[in-house]
């Protein structure tokens, strides 16, 4: 993270109100920008980073604003005492709504948020104790001692301190173990869960975080306007907040602030000048707004911030992790346990199709087993059954003597089984180091709060050190800071292996690791796998390159149409008539 630009920004913001001749109107605009930026920052985390779209953030502002409005006017509490209450109410509301909504896939989530956003808006405007449509007025201002923050120029400091602190905490959160889990959410849950990330919990976390930021904005708004009524918390406002985030750049914390500045200023300009241009017919700004939004999505769907950053000569200097730090290794199983993985009559049916037909085999300690078979033989499905991505229709799978009918992917990872994917599942806009560090997720302890306050640094350093070591081990040290999406497909597969190694696994499942590799790279991979085996690890791999498999595997299991047709040493398999028939047809 770059400290200097942030400090400069903070100093500039602090100096602005003291500029002589500064029009008070501009300060009001800056106040509004700050309020909007807080909500947008939450949306950046929720939508841009976490991939959960919400049109309902305005409702959480409403919770924050109304909580303090009721408590300060009806019960005479001090505004400072209502701050935790406001945050708590928005947080609890987020938990309740989040439990319902975050588990929804894709587009249900935004639609659901529109629906409850509207429902809550009508609720705010109908409830007697919230003052119905008129709202609540005469809310006391924020005050320190006898100093009251009544005019826009003083509450300005409260608002922008909140914005800067939130931005710092958010960036800290993103740059941590929890942050990596959140950033992996957008790419689907399977890869994250394979490394022990509790995806529903991570989603709920960002949902609550965004709601609390919105609640904070609402609390400030209530004491800034000294009144609260339903209009600024309706669906229109919810849509506008999302617009702010998208304009600025939904994936970037400062994009939220920039977006807020652009939108608030643009709105002001449109509202004051459009009537002159087109005559006095109202709401023209919504037309321009809507058209601009569509145009923006067509021309620059990632927003203004990344566009701006690409043009500034700012260079990120990434710190190299100190590889001398070590994570505690997994306790090795007692030497009496010889069978790491035992598959008993595993069966998977998709409707009428039997993808895996009562397959049984095992993987012993210190052994490389290859699973081969023609396309559609059920190899990847078997992998998914072992790692808990799919629920078996029948049979059981034992990992280190723990028998499961259906283990959860996180449980499987915890037991020391890690995997790669046939279709690479990396987060393309994260660096190789960050991607690989997700593999060590279960070996870290730091939670969201300690990350936000930077209390996780020791833990974090050990995780990154482990990740860097595994990257070096697979021979990608030169690419450690490259974005995963910029690597070739073969290299991405190797990154996946490094990520799987970060689990400190006892059993490594590799789904077509050699696909897309050149000859030399394949040989390096083979020698790495041998070395791992000799170090005590077992490997189960699916591979189509027969030369690679025959050279490497200790034992081969052959599947055809979901059924096991042979098992044995490479020599035995090469001459097995059933196998030859499956690969070459009956005539051969």
């Amino acid at each position: 993270m770059q400290r200097l630009p942030i400090i400069v920004f903070a100093l500039v913001m602090a100096a602005i109100p003291f500029i002589p001749g500064m029009p008070p109107f501009w300060i009001v605009l800056l106040d509004n920008i700050g309020l909007s930026a807080l909500v947008a920052m939450g949306l950046v985390l929720l939508t841009g980073v976490g991939g959960l779209t919400s049109f309902g953030q305005a409702a959480f502002c409403g919770f924050g604003a109304y909580t303090t409005a009721v408590l300060t006017t009806a019960y005479g509490l001090s505004p400072w005492l209502t701050l935790p209450a406001s945050l708590l109410v928005s947080g609890v509301a987020a938990v309740l709504l989040g439990l319902v909504t975050v588990r929804l896939s894709g587009h249900y989530l935004p639609l659901g948020t529109i629906a409850w956003g509207l429902g809550l808006f009508y609720l705010f405007s109908k409830l007697e104790f919230l003052g119905r449509n008129d709202g609540i007025s005469a809310i006391p201002p924020l005050s320190i001692g006898s100093f009251k923050m009544i005019d826009p120029g003083t509450i300005y400091f409260a608002i922008w301190i909140a914005v800067l602190l939130s931005a710092l905490l958010t960036m800290n959160l993103l740059d941590s173990r929890t942050g990596r889990a959140i950033r992996a959410l957008r790419r689907g849950h399977i890869a994250a869960e394979a490394f022990g990330v509790q995806t529903p919990r991570a989603k709920l976390l960002v949902f609550i975080y965004a709601a609390v930021l919105a609640g904070l904005s609402g609390w400030l708004y209530a004491h800034f306007q000294r009144a609260a009524n339903p209009t600024p918390f309706g669906a229109q406002a919810g849509i506008e907040y999302l617009f702010v985030a998208v304009v600025g750049g939904a994936g970037y914390v400062w994009g939220g602030v920039l977006g807020a500045a652009i939108v608030v200023i643009l709105k002001e300009i449109l509202q004051s000048y459009l009537p002159y241009v087109f005559g006095g017919q109202g709401q023209l700004e919504t037309i321009v707004f809507g058209i601009l939004l569509v145009l923006l999505l067509q021309l620059a769907p990632t927003g203004v911030w990344p566009w701006l950053m690409a043009r500034l000569p700012l260079k990120l200097n990434r710190k190299r992790p100190d590889t001398s730090l070590v994570l505690p290794a997994r306790p090795k199983p007692p030497t009496s346990v010889n069978v790491l993985l035992q598959i008993d009559n595993a069966r998977k049916q998709f409707g009428g199709v039997v993808a895996v037909n009562d397959v049984s085999f095992d993987v012993q300690a210190r052994e490389i087993v290859a699973l081969i078979g023609p396309n559609g033989a059920g190899k990847s499905t078997t992998f998914n059954l072992i790692t808990g991505v799919l629920r078996p229709t029948g049979g059981s799978i034992s990992i280190l003597g723990n028998k499961f009918n259906h283990a959860r992917p996180q449980q499987v990872a915890k037991l020391g089984v890690s995997r790669t994917f046939q279709h690479v599942k990396l987060v393309p806009d994260m660096t190789v180091l960050e991607n690989v560090a997700i593999g060590a997720h279960l070996r870290g302890r730091a939670g969201a709060l300690s990350s936000m306050f930077r209390l996780d640094r020791a833990d974090e350093a050990r995780l990154l050190a482990e990740a860097a070591r595994q990257i070096e081990r697979v021979g990608l040290a030169d690419q450690i800071d490259a974005l995963a999406g910029s690597l070739s497909l073969g290299q991405q597969r190797i990154v996946e292996i490094a990520r799987a190694l970060c689990v400190d696994p006892m059993l490594l499942l590799l789904d077509e690791p050699a696909a897309g590799l050149r000859h030399m790279e394949k040989q390096q991979l083979a020698s790495l796998l041998r070395q791992l085996r000799d170090g005590g690890m077992s490997v189960l791999l699916v591979e189509h390159d027969m030369g690679f498999v025959m050279d490497l595997a200790d034992r081969i299991v052959v599947l055809d149409f979901g059924t096991k047709i042979a098992e044995g040493t490479p020599e035995a398999i090469k001459t097995n008539p059933e196998v030859i028939k499956a690969y070459l047809g009956a005539a051969a």
């Binding site: 659901g112 629906a115 009508y122 609720l123 109908k126 849509i239 919504t286």
Partner: protein, 341 residues
């Protein structure tokens, strides 16, 4: 009780129409059509203005959008500008809306029969729907559902703003389609509500036939399942999207024309009506037509009952109706991976 149910079913039938259109558009283009509500308002208020002998601004909007669409067509096809291609683009994007505009301004003030006004309103809104897809969505048809959704919200904002410009802030009502009435036992069916039922049922059957039996219907379904695959077998996915939007805008406009004699519509009423169609569509999972229709009737009935017993909280109840549905959906959510970009 019964009259509440009757009221609910009449409203529900409208929501069903809108829900069907939403499902249709989502299935084919992955666009969650927030501006559906604007199609309703445009249809209703265009019809009301025409009946009142005024010139609706929507006809001019159609021409303006047609010109933009034409430019986009020219730009998109700049590498291979055949005369036939330019001619077709010109016919669809320029001649069609201009003819509609000419027809509208010739007929406005001459008090043509109701049927002509309806046909004209439908034409205008259909053109707007078609051009909306061409301008706003076709260039980003390959992006994620989220990007499409936000664009959809942008269209909603712009179109609602135009609605205010064209029709003003005052609400309007239109003349009824049929004045006849029918009394069965304690219930009195107005001709209007009968028309609502008949048209809803006719549309459900027509959509079913269209998707089941016609080549275009099948092409649309193919596009819905797999865009790339559909293109590989020679289906023009942009055409599928345009057809879907055309149908959706016609359905929206019809809904508007059906309700504008019953309730006063304002330039922004459509949004709420459209959202209720949404709730039905979401209950139907955005895929099932029959389930959506049933859910729409449910939404309409809940609305009718809650407006009678707890009128203050009518909207709250209708919009929170979605939460139990979402809970059920999330409990039954399949663990399939969505490949997102």
């Amino acid at each position: 009780m019964l009259f509440l149910l009757q009221d609910g079913i009449t409203n529900g039938a409208i929501y069903a129409l809108l829900g069907l259109a939403l499902v249709l558009v989502f299935a084919v283009t992955r666009v969650i059509l927030i501006p559906q509500g604007e199609f309703v308002t445009y249809g209703a208020l265009t019809y009301a203005s025409l009946s009142a002998g005024q010139m609706p601004g929507t006809a001019r909007l159609a021409v303006a959008m047609g010109i933009v669409a034409f430019c986009l067509d020219l730009f998109a096809g700049r590498r291979s500008l055949h005369l036939a291609r330019v001619g077709r683009a010109f016919a669809v994007n320029i001649i069609l809306p201009v003819v509609i505009l000419a027809l509208t301004s010739w007929l406005a003030g001459r008090h043509p029969p109701v049927a002509v006004n309806i046909a004209l309103s439908l034409l205008i809104v259909a053109a707007i729907g078609l051009f909306l897809y061409r301008i706003a969505f076709q260039p980003i048809a390959h992006t994620s559902v989220l990007v499409l959704l936000i664009a959809s919200v942008g269209c909603h904002l712009a179109m609602q703003g135009f609605g205010l410009v064209f029709f003003g802030a005052e609400g309007q009502r239109g003349p009824t389609i049929a004045d006849a009435a029918l009394t069965v036992g304690p219930l009195r069916f107005t001709g209007q509500s009968l028309a609502v039922y008949a048209i809803t049922i006719a549309f459900i059957i027509a959509l079913w036939l269209f998707f089941g039996l016609t080549m275009y219907g099948k092409a649309l379904r193919a596009t819905a399942v797999n865009r790339l695959g559909a293109r590989l077998v020679g289906i023009r996915t942009s055409l599928s999207g345009q057809i879907a939007f055309l149908l959706a805008s016609v359905i929206g406009a019809i809904s508007g024309i059906l309700i504008v004699p019953i309730t006063t519509l304002y330039y922004d009423t459509g949004f709420l009506i459209g959202l209720k169609g949404f709730i039905a569509a979401i209950i139907g999972g955005l895929v099932s037509y029959p389930l959506t229709a049933v859910a729409a009737l449910l939404v309409g009935s809940v609305e009718a009952f809650s407006s009678f017993y707890a009128s203050n909280f009518k909207e709250v109840i209708v919009f929170t109706l979605i939460l139990p549905v979402l809970v059920l959906r999330s409990l039954a959510a399949p663990a399939v991976e969505e490949e997102k970009d």
